[in-house]
Subunit: 332 residues, 2 copies
């Protein structure tokens, strides 16, 4: 049905729907003005759905659609013990050592199943349906190749979930940096007055970054032992976003890929974040469909970043199919 | 009895015993040549006891004698996960994060009673007699003043021991430095490939620093989870030393202090180390008596280091009493 409509569109050189373009040139410097623009132009921006092409797919012969992005809560923590650095010979064993305490506090943030122990942390996590998990599991993944590429013997993560799931549909907590005491060459027998860490949490729908940051703060302060002081400073956050695979937008995108790639795309949750997607949803009440055609091997943000001609033309070819399929499905 | 002998010595201007002087000018740069000198001069250095004046006392009106020095085992540890730094959005939750793992490993080195969990760590620890602990407990100590000086709410240490005991007669494990990942300003969502820590253990008799370093190494490697690699590099060590308070040397020193200070000195174990004391015992089979007259407030190795005239003259006055008392006690 939509194939005929597509051919009709191409012959008549006419779109079956209206298209509004919004071009953002500040994404890499934080999109500071986009939110203001959207806020001031609600009416001009009314639409049925938003299409964003800023994602990738699994492989040129394995088309996929990103259906979820993780959010982020990022904090810096500071543990203070004695008011000055101490000689470990004279004070060792007598006072709380801020580095040992910080290590203990960090260790306690995961339980034996690698679940995060902050009370309330999982309360708003939306669990995927079995259907969605089954769809996700169709994506090709070789644990052997994954481990070999990173030179590790084994993966590690939350019990009960696959590596693909751990990196996309589940929230995480990672220390991104830690420092304290003497870190130069050789030995120095000091007990540091302070120890520091940068800790980030990747969030999934419907976790709210501000709420999670507050839960972290409250919990981290509560586990600080007597004899220490704790300070938590929030850095920045971002909201998670998800596209339901039973939505018209997703279905239309799926049809479009199937038409041009010859096979049904796999819905994939990404571990990363595109903050504007959550912003569009909040400001305009609109879901975004993420139809991107890049590859992991494009090395985005890295030396020798590139984009394949195959992917460039395949995108041009696929997106008009979305316009047609979406319009057709809306009519039903 | 010894008072008469002392007066006789002062009148006659004669020592009741021979005295050999050994002057060491390299202590602050590691005493690299002293061991060689002692090894090559066993015969010239024969003696009954060694007297070292490199310690302090509790207060000018609370004379004390240092009867123990802690030893040291110092190691550097390295935990490696993936072979390169990773994006925490894409890999967070999927692989072992070396910083989180290092924190967990460090946390596991103490149990809930702040006892060290390395198997065999306490095997050679000599427990003090009740008499010795009772003597130690006579030293004046105000927890309130101690906490106030360090601006902490509470002390922390091994269950079952006082703060003075924790800092002297008990072995300890402290992280002296930790680092890994992004430690600059702001946020970076990275999973570091490696994390590092410097860890020192203060040892008490009869713990052997080489043996303890090996126990640490074996244990630390054994607790590294699959998906990580661990490397332990020993830095340097030092043996603990102790002077029995029922020895002639200690008794003679005690008499000397009592004569000049008017009160019996308190035996005190120090948390620090004077490596030559263990070396003298090993090379010459001789115990050292530590008759030092400094104060904590002298700020040794710190800005404005100083030494009181009272202490200077009190030392000159006290040490001859030791010569007399020791000779008298040896005759019995």
């Amino acid at each position: 049905m939509h194939v005929k409509a597509f051919e009709a569109m191409m012959v008549a050189d006419e779109l079956p729907c209206n298209v509004k373009f919004m071009i953002e040139g500040e994404e890499e410097v934080g999109s500071e003005n986009l939110g203001i623009f959207v806020q001031n132009n609600h009416e001009r921006l009314t639409a049925d759905v938003i299409l964003v092409s800023d994602t990738g797919m699994l492989a040129n012969d394995v088309p996929s659609i990103t259906t979820g992005l993780r959010g982020l809560s990022y904090v810096e923590v500071e543990v203070t013990g004695p008011n000055r650095d101490l000689h470990s010979g004279l004070y060792g064993g007598c006072v709380a050592n801020p580095i040992n305490i910080l290590a203990k506090m960090i260790a306690s943030l995961h339980d034996e199943n690698n679940k995060i122990t902050i009370p309330g942390f999982y309360d708003k996590v939306i669990n995927l349906t079995d259907e969605e998990r089954a769809e996700m599991a169709k994506a090709p993944f070789s644990k052997e190749a994954y481990c070999k590429a990173l030179d590790i013997d084994e993966v590690m993560g939350e019990t009960g979930y696959s590596t693909m799931e751990r990196g996309s549909i589940r929230p995480t907590l990672d220390v991104n940096g830690i420092w304290g005491g003497y870190i130069g060459q050789g030995a120095k027998t000091v007990i540091a007055s302070q120890a520091f860490a940068k800790i980030s949490m990747r969030l999934v729908p419907d976790q709210d970054p501000i709420e999670i940051t507050n839960l972290f703060l409250k919990h981290f302060e509560s586990i600080a032992p007597v004899g220490t002081k704790v300070k938590v400073t929030p850095h920045h956050g971002g909201e998670p976003a998800v596209t339901p695979i039973d939505s018209i937008g997703y279905k239309a995108a799926s049809i479009a890929y199937e038409n041009t790639f010859g096979k049904k795309p796999i819905p994939v949750r990404s571990g990363g974040s595109i903050p504007i997607v959550a912003m569009f949803e909040k400001e305009l009440g609109l879901k975004s469909i993420l139809m991107g055609f890049g590859l992991d091997s494009d090395a985005i943000h890295s030396p020798n970043e590139h984009y394949g001609l195959f992917n460039f033309y395949k995108g041009i070819e696929t997106i008009p199919h979305f316009f047609v399929a979406y319009t057709e499905l809306m009519k039903k």
